[in-house]
């Protein structure tokens, strides 16, 4: 297969290694060392995509990560990754790529009609067009916009690739491996500093890889690169990371790197990750990110075949690819002339060099003339022709007063353009440094340093190879000295060739066309034209931040690296304000798009969040239990038998627990051991209840408030000894309660002699509840008298259970006779399985969290977080009985006296009964007085818990209702989509109101 635009020789590709690849179904050939972009260009393919808004044909514009147009989908192992920049995709055998944003094909795209209708899509069109009617947004506008806009298609399957994460430290991080970065790494490494050098490209060398003419220390630039890398590789304390983008610069020199490990391989080792996230802490950083060339803003500057000049030179010198056979070079600076000369020397016809400047350097003109290249001074492109590829250009002569007159037409199949260079200050900007404007350079360069970093080379505003090398060496020395206090003076290499050059322009160029009809693109990826920026200014956007959001210029994935300076100049001119007064938008992380996989790393699937299991877990799985997640815990939800659904299983479990006995795993409850001479005093202050008079061996229900007076947790506390309490908390509140206790203890009452220890994981807890509970546990208990007199409700004792140490509580969250058996966690499984066998003798059942909820709701026991929402007081819950009235202070006491907490009209806990006993209300449903309240009527409250109650033989609900206690017997409504449900307000207790079943 011929590659018609491949040069005869030269470049860094491996001409001996031919690779087949596929683009939009067509099989093409390239070479090892190609990028997808260079291989496409070698085959004469410029058209690679359609633009975002107008669906205009677009070609490859650059040769780097700033590429706005050549975004393709790459198929790998059956999955497609969208929006890969063809300029960064390394070619491998069998690579499969597709173009994006076109239908049905790249060549014929229906969406291109948008280009004809472009007057309908002015700047701010989202804001203007889709405002009315509001209802259309969800049903009409959004689906259409989402279908038509956007670039690639997101992959449909879960990402099968692996990603890795590692933490690293170094003395000096060097970002970028062009001449400045290599020199900096050499200089820093020479001192013995631990150096990491990273570059987003596959090969180190940066601009030197495209530099054919220059020499360093008398050697070809590429030779110097090879020697330098070999020297760095030879040092143990240097780490070289190619294909690694420093995408985020965070506080304290914390830099995030994304290393692409296997994406460039056709058959990668499956053990390797696709990408690796380096979380790097560098003592010092050298940013050597280089500069990128600005496109020129002239009418129709976006046709395929139009590239920035340095990209043309890179494709030629590095990849051995000619961007065209007849190339027009349009420039405002010197560097593009070299591209013209290199192309001419490789046999490409350079039809003209059109320089905006009236007096470009004479030496360049002499070189051009020696090659027979036509030179036009004070000349601009005023338009281009060609549909899927540029076929010609209109030239215009710019008179000194700025007027443009036609200078004829040229035929060409490619245009190289250069508006000058923009230092890449993204990482510096991310480090929170503030750029400063250099009028003489027409560029923003790094200013003051906020972090331990320095820039070197082009991103520092230093151009010319010798100067760049010197700047790099100095930066490397400076960084190493700051990091490890050592210096080692290297002899700086000097270069000849690749001089700095002069010139450059910002903003849109003058032309003689109808300004209202032409499109001169500023931001290619977001399809923003010079006209759009001007319109935004006319419509009142005066800050660049507003202009950016109104036009979307600079909001594409390159964050405006290509477009910002031109947009800023256009806005500055339109506003008649200095450019620096218009402002520069902030560069943010990530520098280039970074995959979610890289961020997620190994935190996916089972590793996303820890799973906490109780001792009965495996047993419950074997029993076929359904599980629910409670925080990180897996809790048995219910135990269905013989094809029961949840409703049937829960009804059976509830009934059996009340008739004979049920077994429940309560191990997830938070447990805190509070110990010390001041333990009781500490609990006095932490809980509303009094504790000092609680005798050892007794338990009490504790209610915890915050200092605002609202309920935040509850649980039973057992006094094990004078100076020792076994505190339980809610499952979800365990960590927070422990942290709150620590906080008060350490910072408010450090004088208290108390230690607290989280013991949640130390104890396994089996709750045995029901009339037969005592009979079930009795055979296994030693050392505790279980009789009602010796061990009444709300008792705790230590003894043994199945021969293992045990804290036995007689407590109940069901209203039945109940015991909670706390044993060392390691014995939990044995104890559970013993009890599970034992309850069978009494026709008992294991039950899950759903039955637990129903049983407690029948008794009107609250669950913090269900009946409460952080704005509920003890009085709201009818729980003033839990408050130690004689206590001078406790956390929340003062809060309870706040005006709003004692005001009339607070929402109070009540029970609700539906008229129809079969109707179970929805938890969270709003409650109103009227069945059909007017829109905007505030709710009287909401349903907090709602179940079918086997004990009550009907549905029951708990609710928080305004002035609820005064509404007993009244009817309220629960409006639902298919009509309001009338409910009667009742006491919030539905079973055994006297509590007779507890005291047996």
């Amino acid at each position: 297969m011929s590659q018609p635009f491949r040069t005869e020789k030269g470049g860094r590709i491996d001409r001996g290694a031919q690779l087949s690849f596929n683009f939009d179904g067509e099989t093409l050939q390239g070479h090892k060392g190609d990028t997808l972009a260079s291989a496409l260009l070698a085959n004469g393919i410029h058209l690679v995509g359609r633009s975002f808004k107008y669906h205009r044909p677009r070609g490859i514009l650059t040769a780097g990560s700033e590429e706005p147009n050549a975004l393709v989908g790459i198929y790998r192992q059956g999955d497609q990754t969208p929006n890969m920049r063809a300029t960064q995709v390394e070619l491998y055998e069998g690579l499969e790529a597709i173009s994006q944003n076109r239908f049905p094909s790249l060549g014929f795209d229906i969406g291109a009609v948008n280009d004809l209708m472009s007057p309908l899509f002015p700047a701010g069109f989202y804001y203007k067009t889709f405002m009315w009617p509001k209802a259309f947004w969800d049903r009409v506008y959004e689906p259409i916009i989402r279908a038509a806009a956007g670039l690639g298609k997101p992959p449909k399957n879960p990402d099968h690739d692996k990603y890795a994460n590692l933490y690293a430290h170094c003395d000096v991080l060097v970002v970028g491996s062009g001449p400045a970065g290599l020199a900096a790494a050499l200089a820093a490494a020479e001192t013995g500093a631990r150096v990491i050098l990273c570059d987003e490209q596959a090969e180190f060398g940066g601009s030197l890889l495209s530099e054919d003419g220059a020499t360093i220390d008398g050697k070809a630039a590429s030779e110097w690169v090879a020697e330098t890398i070999a020297a760095l590789e030879a040092k143990d304390h240097v780490t070289l990371l190619p294909r690694t983008t420093a995408f985020g610069y965070f506080a304290q020199n914390y830099v995030a790197l994304a290393e692409r490990v296997t994406e460039h391989l056709s058959d990668p080792d499956p053990k390797l990750p696709r990408e690796r996230l380096w979380q790097l802490r560098a003592k010092e950083v050298v940013i050597a990110a280089g500069a990128i060339e600005r496109p020129m803003v002239f009418p129709e500057n976006d046709r395929p075949g139009i590239l920035v000049a340095d990209a043309g030179r890179t494709y030629l010198n590095r990849y051995g690819v000619k961007v065209g056979h007849k190339v027009l070079v349009a420039t405002a600076c010197d560097t593009a002339w070299q591209a013209a000369f290199d192309l001419a020397d490789h046999g490409t016809e350079v039809v003209a060099i059109a320089d905006l400047r009236h007096n470009p350097p004479e030496n360049l003109i002499a070189i051009a003339e020696a090659r027979g290249i036509r030179v036009e001074r004070g000349c601009v492109i005023t338009g281009t022709n060609g549909r899927k590829r540029v076929s010609g250009a209109l030239l215009g002569r710019v008179s000194p007063n700025g007027a443009v007159s036609s200078a004829g037409e040229v035929t060409c199949d490619a245009i190289l353009m250069s508006g000058g260079w923009t230092p890449t200050v993204s990482l510096y900007s991310q480090s929170r440094g503030k750029v400063v404007w250099k009028e003489d350079m027409g560029a923003f360069v790094p200013g003051l340093h906020v972090q331990n970093e320095r820039s070197a080379g082009a991103c520092h505003g230093v151009y010319g190879l010798t100067e760049t090398l010197a700047d790099g060496y100095a930066a490397g020395e400076d960084a190493a000295k700051a990091a490890i206090g050592k210096t080692a003076k290297l002899t700086y290499a000097t270069a000849s060739g690749a001089d700095a050059g002069t010139g450059g322009t910002l903003g849109d160029l003058p032309h003689d066309r109808n300004a209202s009809r032409v499109k001169a693109f500023v931001d290619y990826q977001n399809d923003v034209t010079a006209k759009d920026v001007k319109l935004a200014v006319r419509e009142g956007m005066h800050s660049i931040e507003h202009i950016k959001r109104y036009t979307t210029t600079g909001m594409a994935t390159d964050q405006g690296r290509l477009s910002n300076m031109n947009a800023l100049q256009i806005a500055s001119t339109a506003l008649a304000k200095p450019l620096t007064d218009v402002g520069l938008t902030t560069f943010r992380q990530p520098f280039t798009p970074t995959t979610f996989g890289t961020f997620a790393s190994t935190s996916r699937g089972d590793f996303f969040d820890p799973v906490r299991k109780t001792p009965s877990h495996d047993w419950a799985v074997a029993q076929g239990a359904a599980f629910e997640d409670v925080g990180q815990w897996k809790r048995a939800w219910y135990f269905p038998k013989d094809g029961e659904d949840m409703h049937a299983a829960v009804a059976r479990e509830c009934a059996v627990a009340r008739e004979s006995v049920g077994l429940f795993d309560a191990s997830t409850l938070g447990k805190i051991e509070v110990v010390g001479p001041d333990a009781a005093e500490f609990l006095e202050r932490m809980y509303t209840n009094p504790w000092k008079k609680l005798a050892p061996g007794r338990c009490r229900y504790g209610l915890m408030l915050n200092d605002a007076g609202f309920v935040i947790d509850d649980g039973v506390v057992g006094r094990m000894a004078e100076d020792r309490f076994h505190v339980t908390t809610t499952t979800g509140g365990a960590a927070h309660v422990f942290a709150t206790m620590e906080d008060y203890l350490q910072t408010e009452w450090p004088d208290l002699d108390v230690w607290i220890t989280s013991t949640t994981e130390e104890f396994a807890v089996a709750a045995v509840q029901g009339p037969k509970a005592r009979e079930v546990i009795a055979p296994f208990v030693e050392g505790i008298d279980l009789s009602a007199d010796a061990f009444p409700h709300m008792s705790v004792a230590t003894g043994t259970f199945c021969g293992v140490p045990c804290r036995l509580f007689r407590i109940s969250f069901t209203g039945e006779l109940g015991f909670e058996i706390n044993v060392p966690r390691r014995h939990g499984k044995m104890v559970w399985e013993t009890l599970a066998k034992e309850i069978e003798k009494h026709n008992g059942v294991p039950y899950g969290t759903e039955t637990m909820h129903v049983l407690r709701a029948e008794k009107g026991f609250i669950i913090v977080g269900q009946e409460t929402d952080g704005t509920v007081t003890p009085d709201d819950l009818n729980m003033n009985w839990a408050i130690g009235k004689k206590k001078a202070d406790f956390v929340g006491k003062r809060g309870l006296a706040r005006p709003d907490l004692v005001a009339e009209g607070r929402k109070q806990l009540v029970g609700l009964l539906t008229e129809d006993p079969k109707v179970v209300l929805e938890e969270g449903a709003q409650i109103t007085k009227d069945a059909n309240p007017a829109t905007g009527t505030p709710a009287e409250g909401h349903v907090t818990s709602s179940y079918h109650s086997p004990a009550a033989g009907r549905s029951i609900a708990l609710a928080i209702v305004k002035n609820g206690r005064a509404l007993m017997g009244e009817t309220l409504n629960v409006p639902m989509p298919d009509g309001a449900i009338p409910v009667e307000v009742v006491e919030p207790i539905f079973y055994d109101k006297e509590g007779a079943r507890l005291n047996v």
Partner: protein, 101 residues
């Protein structure tokens, strides 16, 4: 991710070992019942939320577990001082001046 020096452990550790607990030196009134509603509301809810040099509480929750105080420049996120709970509030203006803020 910030690096934070724990004054109890005497070492610098990554931010993920710590939790921030809001403004420092907000003491719970010794006799809450003696406070007015306004004073109590201020204790509960009002914080200076300074843009600049700020004293705040941190806890080395996944380390020694101790609460301590730190002076942080909230714009740059730079820690200017850490000190143990119970030590007096430093002169923030002086710290700001020394840090050149």
């Amino acid at each position: 991710m910030l690096l934070i020096h724990c004054p109890y452990c005497g070492v610098e550790r990554p931010e993920i070992e710590f939790s921030c607990r809001g403004e420092a030196h907000i003491a719970r009134p010794a006799d809450p019942s003696a406070t007015t509603d306004e004073e109590w509301a201020e204790y509960l809810y009002l914080r200076t939320n300074t843009k600049g040099v700020y004293a705040e509480r941190w806890r080395h929750i996944h380390g020694c577990g101790r609460f301590f105080n730190a002076v942080r420049e909230t714009v740059s996120d730079k820690f200017l001082k850490v000190y143990k709970a119970g030590e007096p509030k430093p002169d923030l203006d002086q710290i700001a001046k020394e840090a050149g803020k």
